[in-house]
């Protein structure tokens, strides 16, 4: 289709322009070599060679992300279902949840630090809390959105008990919950990395900080670019899945 080709071209042009400007900023020495590494430098063998040394940082961080995410997902989904059971309870607590989402959780970070110490635990707790709200809010929305007429119809058809959940309620809430889960990925990753940076505990966050202090610019940009590309890929993939799941929603 014509529009698809046009937009793909525009995108390609923008990306190439971005890479070009980036490269030229370095090649023409507009920005000092201590601050910027050019794409050409990142694609050299030495940049790739240094990378395996950093793998265990990535391992730790991924581990923390997975645990934090699991905690956020379980609490968020369960909490979301519980909260929607009573309309009264939901109405009372709703402003608090919205407020909690709007408050920078980072402000409470010192408390976590004091409670859980300087290690992975604080990172995981903070990461979980960052992701929790998005999942909770989306789950509640999903459950409250369930069309009550569908439930009436199900009753008249004789659909009882677990079947009501498996055939009507769950399929109805899945897109909303998935949307929350998708957004939480970025939040949890962000929370974990921020915590690692602030605490200087082992992980990609800390790695980036160290590389920047030591002016190891090439490795710094390499690691950042890797994280960037991975996250872009993951997010786009999740968006794709979400739109497939939500085809009937609107």
């Amino acid at each position: 289709m014509d529009t698809r080709l046009k937009s793909a071209t525009v995108q390609a042009v923008i990306i190439l322009l971005f890479l070009l400007v980036w490269q030229l900023l370095r090649s023409w020495n507009i920005v000092n070599h201590l601050f910027l590494a050019a794409p050409s430098e990142l694609l050299t063998r030495s940049a790739f060679a240094a990378f395996p040394g950093y793998l265990h940082y990535f391992g730790t961080t991924v581990n923390e992300i997975l645990i934090a995410y699991a905690i956020a997902a379980v609490i968020g989904i369960l909490g979301g279902f519980l909260l929607s059971r009573s309309n009264y309870v939901y109405k009372v607590l709703e402003p608090f949840i919205v407020w909690g989402y709007a408050i920078p959780k980072i402000a409470l970070f010192p408390v976590f630090l004091k409670l859980f110490g300087l290690g992975s635990t604080t990172v995981i707790v903070y990461g979980a809390i960052t992701g929790l709200f998005v999942i909770l809010i989306n789950t509640v929305t999903g459950v409250r959105e369930v069309d009550s007429h569908l439930l009436t119809v199900s009753t008249s058809l004789g659909i009882k008990g677990t079947k009501r959940y498996t055939k009507v309620i769950f399929p109805s809430v899945v897109p909303a919950i998935f949307s929350g889960l998708r957004q939480a990925v970025i939040q949890v990753v962000l929370g974990v990395l921020v915590a690692e940076l602030v605490l200087n505990t082992i992980g990609v966050g800390d790695l980036i900080d160290t590389l920047s202090y030591s002016f190891n610019v090439v490795d710094l940009y390499f690691v950042v670019a890797t994280v960037a590309l991975v996250m872009i890929f993951v997010n786009l993939a999740l968006l794709n899945v979400e739109s497939r799941l939500s085809f009937w929603r609107r």
């Binding site: 069309d147 007429h149 569908l150 009436t152 119809v153 199900s154 009753t155 008249s156 058809l157 004789g158 659909i159 009882k160 079947k163 055939k167 009507v168 399929p171 109805s172 085809f247 009937w248 929603r249 609107r250």
Partner: protein, 250 residues
């Protein structure tokens, strides 16, 4: 003499709110015989839909009793009664075929059989070729056909229709009425229809009950002994009669 399938005796329905008690239906008594097509008609808010919901077992009467096929109604009876509503209530994440199979799934009908039954009724309601389409791809009339197919697939003796064509434009409405009669000619059922449309009542019914405005009681019963298909010239006197009954205060 046909046997009585539905017996409504002295049924009332009251709703209490904080400030007042509202009587939606006030002491209605009537029968529906096997194979009859009964329509209940009345001014807006007269309680006709409430009456249907009580027969369907979706609401309990405040007083009086309802017997269906000799059994007291205490809840939905999906083996005896199938209900179609104004809103088709199709599950948006399932295609037409799978939507029709929903009621059969409640009865644990095996997969192959379900598919066959569903296909049979898809054809009967005129949706051949649309079995794999999703609700958002269908027009209002087509969605309602699917809902009716779902009702028919339950193979009950009794069919309750609560303003099934209310959301459709007039032409589609008249068309669907004709189609309904064709379908009923093939699958003998006892039908209770609730509608606003005087023309519809005159076109389709063997008997019409006219209700008063709230609290709803039976104002009058009218027999329509015309053969099908009915022409507008035949039904016009009945339409006039119904209109007089509805607009004139008791």
């Amino acid at each position: 003499m046909s046997e009585v399938l539905i017996e409504v005796s002295n049924v009332s329905k009251k709703y209490s709110t904080r400030n007042e008690t509202i009587e939606a239906v006030s002491s209605m008594t009537f029968d529906i015989k096997r194979g009859e097509f009964l329509t209940i008609i009345g001014p807006s808010g007269c309680g006709k839909s409430t009456m249907l919901a009580m027969i369907a077992g979706l609401l309990l009467p405040s007083s009086g009793s309802i017997k269906v096929e000799g059994k007291e109604v205490e809840g939905p009876m999906p083996e005896r009664i199938a209900v179609a509503f104004q809103e088709p209530g199709l599950l948006p994440w399932r295609n037409v075929q799978k939507n029709i199979e929903l009621g059969l799934e409640a009865r644990n009908v095996p997969k192959v059989q379900r598919g066959q039954i569903a296909k049979k009724y898809i054809e009967l309601v005129g949706l051949l070729g649309f079995g794999d389409k999703y609700p958002h791809q269908l027009s209002g009339g087509m969605k309602q056909r699917a809902a009716i197919a779902r009702c028919l697939s339950m193979d009950t003796n009794i069919l309750l229709l609560d303003e099934p064509f209310g959301a459709l434009d007039e032409q589609t409405r008249l068309l669907m009425g004709e189609e309904l009669l064709k379908i009923l000619a093939v699958t003998s059922k006892t039908v209770l229809l609730v509608t606003h449309s005087l023309q519809e009542a005159a076109n389709l019914s063997d008997r019409v009950i006219v209700m008063t405005k709230r609290p709803g009681r039976i104002r009058e019963e009218i027999r329509i002994d015309l053969p099908h298909p009915r022409k507008p010239t035949d039904t016009v006197e009945y339409v006039n009669k119904l209109w007089d009954l509805i607009r004139e205060p008791v």
